[in-house]
Symmetry: C2
Subunit: 166 residues, 2 copies
Amino acid sequence: MQLPKGVEWAAHSLVVLARIGSSRPVPSAVLADVYGLSAPYLNKHLRKLAANGLLTSTSGPSGGFALARPAEEITMADVVEALEGRGPLFRCTEIRCDGLFRDRAAQIKAGRPCGIAAAMSQAEAAWRSSLAAVTIADLAAGLDDRYARRLSEFVHPDTRRGERQT
Amino acid sequence: MQLPKGVEWAAHSLVVLARIGSSRPVPSAVLADVYGLSAPYLNKHLRKLAANGLLTSTSGPSGGFALARPAEEITMADVVEALEGRGPLFRCTEIRCDGLFRDRAAQIKAGRPCGIAAAMSQAEAAWRSSLAAVTIADLAAGLDDRYARRLSEFVHPDTRRGERQT
DNA sequence: GCGTCCGTACTCGGATAATCTCTGTCCGAGTTGCCGAGG
DNA sequence: CCTCGGCAACTCGGACAGAGATTATCCGAGTACGGACGC
């Protein structure tokens, strides 16, 4: 089991948008070029973030994606939740109500909940809690200033619009 | 993303073995019947647990699987680790060293570690820590006595040989 | 009657398909900005 | 010179293949038990 690569891509893209600081939309193709990613595939993930209210999407020329709210209010938990959905990691299939105990299924479900599912749920809560403690703003602040400036110059070339080299 | 169903199966089987309390091996087919699972597939997962030292496997008649150590010393973290491996959940591909920053790759890697990977790693540590706090013995104790007895009678039908189980 | 040998049945073990999610790619719908024509 | 209309380019958006992992299944190698044979 492993988290999809899209989580990493989306998180890095959010950090880039946060570090740029501009509210102007950035096309997915530009964000993909920053880290050498597949543009259409990254677009798919960013679209999911937009559908969940983390990004705003704009069509047409000078369109793209932009943060929907301040980077301080976007956590890693939000990113994972937007991409992976809300009920992941462990899905209890209630096998304890099958086989030998099929006749007591209703009685078992009415009693104590499945201990394994409870333990998994609690561990998952700890995981999400830890992720919720880290915001995109925190991560953006961890970027070295030199690289951040290079980012800005690449994403928003103040010179003139329309040139995109390499 | 989602944990494989085998984790649930393996955990329940371990709890069953723990609750039985007997050191006599139990065939995978019997364990599968307890919860109505696919016997060969469950066997595959139990084999993995055996390969990681959680279970002992015995061939031939009266063979099967048995706990390799006391249930108090087997945690849910051990189960997940045995089945999923040690380095899961989030795998940082270091995309921050690609694209624009490919020429600075060595310099970046020598500097601060990737903040996103660090956050993910910390969250994963919290997850595993929570899982490590729950033992198979804890889960076995949570089973209702009535169902536990039915389990023992099914797995070790003493009628056959009048054998006594602990 | 007792010990030994063999046959049988039962178990794990690994190799082999089917299905689903993730990964990657493509082209179409919609929108914005630009340019030229007209007033 | 200013305004309006059409054109073109650029963007997101959803639909379409390929790869990998999970799910599921089967048959073979090995082993312990049970019975039969020989002493």
